[in-house]
């Protein structure tokens, strides 16, 4: 059975068509994923400025927004609320911006895993999870500190072992 899924997938594309992040909430096989990305790149990257942020595609709608060299795209059902999705994109971007401090494409390339962590705090199951930027920032900071503490411990242990085996 299929129930309405709000967002079917999220794709971040660079202007050159390079994929910077993908997240699929509806099941797509690897083959389908590649095909979707190819089709959407052709459809979205060729659109000029000053056009609307919606593209109709195979009975779905893709809501996209361009930030500098990056296109953030989310695919929804044709009868869903486009503007709401558009602002989820912006919400995501604002959080990235706050996290990286004026985010740019390079941040997302070298820290693509961070982008995934953040996205997971905003969307689950293709549904919007958290409207508060503050809450998301707090949760991500907590995760980071958990990782860092663990890493420090690990490195101090390896130092100790290193010392001991000298």
């Amino acid at each position: 059975m299929n129930y309405i899924i709000k967002i079917h997938f999220v794709i971040l594309l660079s202007r050159q068509g390079k994929v910077r992040l993908t997240k699929w909430y509806s099941p797509y096989s690897q083959k389908e994923r590649t095909k979707v990305i190819r089709e959407l790149s052709g459809l979205i990257l060729t659109r000029g400025p000053k056009l609307c942020n919606f593209v109709e595609w195979k009975g779905y709608k893709v809501v996209y927004r361009r930030y500098a060299s990056l296109y953030f795209c989310m695919c929804i059902d044709a009868d869903d609320n486009e503007l709401e999705i558009l602002e989820i994109i912006h919400h995501f971007v604002e959080i990235l911006d706050r996290y990286f401090g004026s985010v740019c494409e390079l941040d997302l390339i070298f820290n693509f895993h961070k982008a995934y962590y953040i996205l997971d705090e905003i969307l689950i199951a293709g549904e919007f999870q958290e409207p508060s930027k503050k809450t998301v920032a707090r949760l991500i900071a907590a995760q980071d500190s958990l990782v860092e503490t663990a890493q420090e411990q690990a490195s101090s242990i390896s130092n100790m072992i290193g010392q001991a085996t000298k």
Partner: protein, 1022 residues
């Protein structure tokens, strides 16, 4: 910081970025994949940190679009790592690399469950997130109770609970049984009291899913939703962090209004009043501001409010406000708002009250057709298509035609199709319709599908007044220098049939017509050559007195193509050549095409199919729901002939009964004559008297014949039995605006002959059927499928069984969830022989529309038959022992659907009447034997003999014998129904075109199912 200890990953990413071209990139990636593979093989040497690094590299490579077909185990194994950093990577990478159907996922269910029920909050979050993103059925079954516990636990913090809510939503989508409705309506109501807006947002998503599936169970939550909306819209007690550009969480507002739209209506007057106050405030209080984000957010709320207003059936005044607002939107500069204005206006068309208001904005909408943005152009096209009716058809269609020359290639076909449909549907007069289609072909021939020009041919054929006009127009186009091939086809066809009507006009004598058409011959493709040959033959026939010079010219062409490589063309050339030398016979064979049976436009169907791939369906839905516009029904409409179930386009002239009957007979005699002339073999002598048992010749006493014939004719045109009476009642009952998109009668008749298929389909739902028959028992399953993204409500199905059937239908659920299919088994027991038919009385609600249909169930007599093969020694004693009425009945049947013996054998076989070859010494006869099963008769042997006349396939004599008088009678009548032409809902003309086709093209692969479709028929003829 971020990449602490993962320098290798950044180095790799830089390397990939520095690659000059795709080839280099591939080399670098292959090298890395090799490296990772070796490292994973030798797992012992890997530190957790290294493993993490490689798994991230895999994800990066995967993201770039390369196949990563190994290492999934390593990613999964990180999930069971004890420390957070590894676990986190394991969960995230797994949920990106694998999808829900990946078999590996099964292996981690236990680990995931331990994390969910464990005490570590951060682990709970990771596990819930992954399950929420890729959890499948198995996860649903094993984890749902634990996830539910977290959601309702008072000790869990919001960060866990909001994830639990969405995780449960995912599991519910995979298996709705995981949420038990009884307990959940109260629980949900409590959850909606949640103060934390993060949790409430997630809970609301879960609620939307639950309520979309079963709104009745959650009535108690409706007032709470209204309260939440009110609180948000009035910005009461909303923490600062939950406002977005000053707007209290627009997402939660939108979601709450979505939830409200799943309740069929709001009855409580207080709630309703409060709700409308809020909506009014949103509609009127939303201003356009400079800040884009604020604008988007407030308009997201506004458009949802609009949807809710439409759903709640607001007062007309409020609706007019909405239209006025949308009218403003479609004229603003901001493209998003313009797009959404058009989109929502299309949705508003479904509300009849405001259609006239929308029409006032036509000029602006037409302007949008020239918008630089294709998304907006599509919306404008859809809206124009939806709002078109008799009053504005001329303007709109002309706009579409104008736009056609400049439109994007991707839109042209859709545009051409839509223009054709509108022209057909709303034409103020038929000549305008012909003009439009010809212009369409002229301007965008490449995008005009065959269906479109077949359709215009059908109209011209069926409307005599139109024929000279169409012929004159076709002649005019032929003067144009560069002509699209489709135009050549349609002109040639029309001139072949009707150019003689123009004979006195200048430039229109047969020779001139021939010359101008023949100029095109060298440049056209094979299918067109075939059409041109037919046209030449027709021209020859119409040339009175014959013109030897023209004849020589045409014969020369026929001779030239006699040895042409294409079989179809070759055959036509040979046949036309021979035929045209037969003089007067030519006129019989090439007589004017008979009228086409009236039926649904194939175009509409096509538009519906095509639409799935292009845009949203609202306008199309609207179109297919609308009743026929009567603008084009020209003359002589006699409803007696059958308001056909799918008669959406009441365009074809329905001739009066009398005309129908007489032309029908004429057609038959004429064509029979032709057949016998073409047939090179001498007609076999009609050896009816030498028949082995019955002394009665097929030429019965004249009086009897006449009455039989009258019976047949009245049978054709009035309603011959209860079943067809019902078919009519069905249509009459359907006061609803939703029309089926399949021909119900055809579906029923098809299902009488086979055991599974579609019984009914409309824009919202489809009913399929599958049946098994054993002796006098039948086991049927009805498949009720919801085609939409919203549920069908108040579903009701009742069987009205005739007295001879015992029918038990299992419980039919009241709601069919979006895109879901439910199966309802149905048991049938046959008590005795009867041709009465069980009726399925079916209704459902979609939004505010109530759809109710009565469908005949294919639990018919022949389903309880089983063919028997018997030897002559068994057959004859039986046959003789059953002597005379009422056990043995004989009847001469006339106006039989002409079919060859093999065809009849096929028909009998599909009716479960086993044909036994060789039993009758006369090869024109057919003997069949079958067992009938009912509770009263048990197994009863039935013997049938059919005697046919090869020189007149329209009559035959049938003798039926069985041990039960009712059975004998009912079976005889039943077989008659299938032999004469009742099954097709279209009255008379079907057999004649079929025969004409057969006469022209003996090997034409037209199937019986096919020839009822005028498109196919025409294609076969051309």
């Amino acid at each position: 910081m971020a990449l602490l200890g993962m320098r290798g990953l950044s180095v790799f990413i830089s390397d990939v970025r520095n690659c000059q071209n795709k080839e280099q990139e591939r080399l670098r990636i292959d090298k890395e994949l090799g490296n990772i593979r070796t490292r994973f093989k030798n797992e012992k040497g890997l530190t957790p940190n290294e493993k993490k690094k490689y798994v991230w590299k895999m994800l990066y490579i995967y993201m770039l679009g390369y196949d990563v077909d190994f290492g999934h185990m390593e990613a999964l194994s990180l999930i069971s790592a004890p420390k957070y950093p590894e676990k986190q990577v394991g969960y995230i990478v797994t949920s990106c690399l694998l999808n829900e159907s990946h078999e590996f996922l099964r292996m981690v269910i236990n680990t995931v469950r331990n994390d969910i029920i464990g005490r570590n909050e951060t682990f709970q979050c990771l596990a819930l997130t992954m399950v929420g993103n890729i959890g499948g059925k198995e996860f649903a079954e094993s984890l749902a109770p634990d996830v539910q516990r977290l959601l309702i636990s008072s000790s869990c913090r919001p960060l866990v609970r909001k994830k639990a809510a969405l995780c449960l939503l995912r599991l519910y989508r995979k298996n709705p049984d995981v949420v038990n409705i009884d307990g959940w309506s109260d629980r949900m109501s409590q959850l909606l009291d949640e103060r934390d807006l993060g949790v409430l947002t997630s809970v609301m998503s879960l609620f939307v899913a639950l309520v979309s599936n079963n709104n009745e169970a959650y009535w108690n939550c409706l007032p709470k939703c209204a309260k939440i909306l009110e609180r948000l819209a009035r910005n009461q007690d909303i923490p600062q962090e939950y406002t977005y550009y000053g707007i209290p969480s627009p997402w939660l507002q939108v979601k709450t209004m979505k939830a409200l739209q799943y309740f069929p209506t709001v009855e409580d007057p207080n709630t309703r009043r409060a709700l409308f106050e809020v909506l009014q405030r949103i509609l009127m209080g939303t201003d356009v501001v400079k800040n884009v984000n604020k604008n988007n957010a407030s308009h997201a709320v506004l458009f949802e409010a609009l949807a809710l207003v439409m759903h709640l059936d607001a007062e007309k005044e409020m609706m007019s406000q909405c239209v006025a607002l949308l009218g403003k939107f479609i004229a603003v500069r901001e493209p998003n708002i313009r797009y959404l204005g058009l989109e929502n206006m299309t949705r508003m068309l479904l509300i009849t009250d405001v259609q006239d208001l929308i029409k006032r904005h036509q000029a602006q909408i037409v302007t949008s057709l020239k918008d630089p943005d294709i998304s907006i152009r599509r919306r404008a096209l859809d809206l124009l298509y939806g709002m078109c009716d008799v009053t504005n058809a001329k303007d709109i269609v002309e706009e579409l035609l104008q736009y056609l020359s400049t439109a994007d290639f991707v839109m042209r076909e859709e545009l051409a199709l839509k223009a054709a449909i509108l022209a057909e549907k709303f034409a103020p007069d038929l000549s305008w319709y012909v003009d439009v289609i010809l212009q369409l072909i002229d301007k965008a021939g490449d995008f005009v599908s065959d269906d479109i020009w077949y359709r215009v041919v059908q109209f011209v054929t069926n409307n005599e007044d139109l024929q000279p006009y169409a012929a004159a127009k076709a002649r005019e186009y032929l003067d144009k220098p560069a002509l699209h091939e489709t135009m050549v086809k349609v002109s040639a066809y029309i001139l072949g049939e009707y150019s003689h009507l123009l004979a006195r006009r200048p430039g229109c004598n047969p020779k001139e017509i021939f010359t101008i058409i023949n100029e095109k011959l060298p440049t056209v493709s094979k299918p067109t050559v075939a059409i041109l040959l037919s046209t030449y033959a027709k021209i020859l026939m119409h040339t009175e007195p014959s013109d030897p010079e023209l004849q020589e010219q045409i014969w020369a062409i026929f001779r030239k193509y006699e040895s042409y490589i294409d079989v179809e063309i070759q055959q036509r050339a040979v046949e036309y050549f021979v035929l045209s030398r037969k003089g007067a016979a030519l006129a019989d064979v090439l007589a004017e095409m008979p009228k086409f049976p009236e039926r649904q436009s194939a175009l509409l169907k096509k538009a519906e199919d095509a639409e799935v791939d292009t845009a949203e369906q609202s306008a199309i839905k609207l179109r297919s729901q609308q009743q026929t516009s009567n603008a084009l029904v020209v003359t002589d409409q006699q409803p007696v002939n059958g308001p056909l179930p799918i008669n959406q386009l009441g365009l074809v002239r329905i001739p009066s009964q009398k005309m129908e009957a007489s032309s029908h007979n004429q057609g038959l005699t004429k064509e029979n004559g032709a057949v016998s002339k073409v047939d090179p073999e001498p007609a076999p002598s009609a050896d009816f008297l030498g028949d082995l048992l019955g002394p009665l010749a097929i030429e019965g006493p004249p009086a009897a014949t006449v009455s039989a014939e009258q019976n047949m004719i009245s049978g054709l045109e009035a309603t011959p039995n209860a079943a067809d009476a019902l078919a009519l009642a069905t249509v009459g009952d359907q006061s609803n605006s939703v029309q089926p998109i399949v021909n119900i009668a055809e579906r029923f008749h098809a299902l009488c002959l086979k055991d599974s298929g579609v019984l009914y389909e409309d824009p919202y739902m489809q009913i399929g059927i599958k049946s098994e028959w054993r002796a006098h028992h039948g086991h049927l399953v009805l498949f009720l499928g919801n085609k939409n993204t919203s549920p069908l409500l108040s579903v009701r199905a009742v069987i009205l069984p005739p007295t001879h059937l015992k029918v038990e239908l299992s419980l039919v659920p009241e709601t069919i969830p979006p895109r879901a299919q439910v199966q309802c088994p149905l048991e049938v027991v046959n008590l005795r022989a009867s041709r009465d038919i069980a009726v399925l009385d079916f209704s459902y609600k979609f939004g505010t529309t109530v759809v109710s249909v009565k469908l005949r169930l294919p639990a018919v007599l022949n389903k309880f038959l089983q063919p028997k093969s018997v030897s002559a020694e068994e057959f004859f004693p039986q046959w003789k022992s059953l002597s005379g009425p009422p056990l043995k009945l004989q009847e001469v049947v006339r106006v039989v659907k002409p079919m060859s013996l093999p065809e009849m054998t096929n028909l009998f076989t599909s009716l479960h009447l086993g044909v036994i070859p060789g039993l009758d010494t006369n090869s024109n006869n057919l003997v069949s034997c079958t067992g009938f099963y009912s509770e009263s008769t048990r197994a009863m042997l039935c013997l049938i003999r059919v005697e046919t006349d090869p020189s007149d396939r329209t009559q035959l004599r049938i003798t039926i014998a069985s041990g039960d008088p009712t059975l004998t009678f009912e079976l005889k009548e039943f077989i008659k129904e299938h032999l004469i032409n009742i099954p097709t809902p279209t009255p008379a003309p079907a057999p004649s075109p079929a025969l004409a086709a057969a006469a022209l093209q003996p090997q034409s692969p037209i199937t019986r199912a096919g020839y009822t479709d005028p498109g196919v028929m025409l294609a076969g003829l051309l």
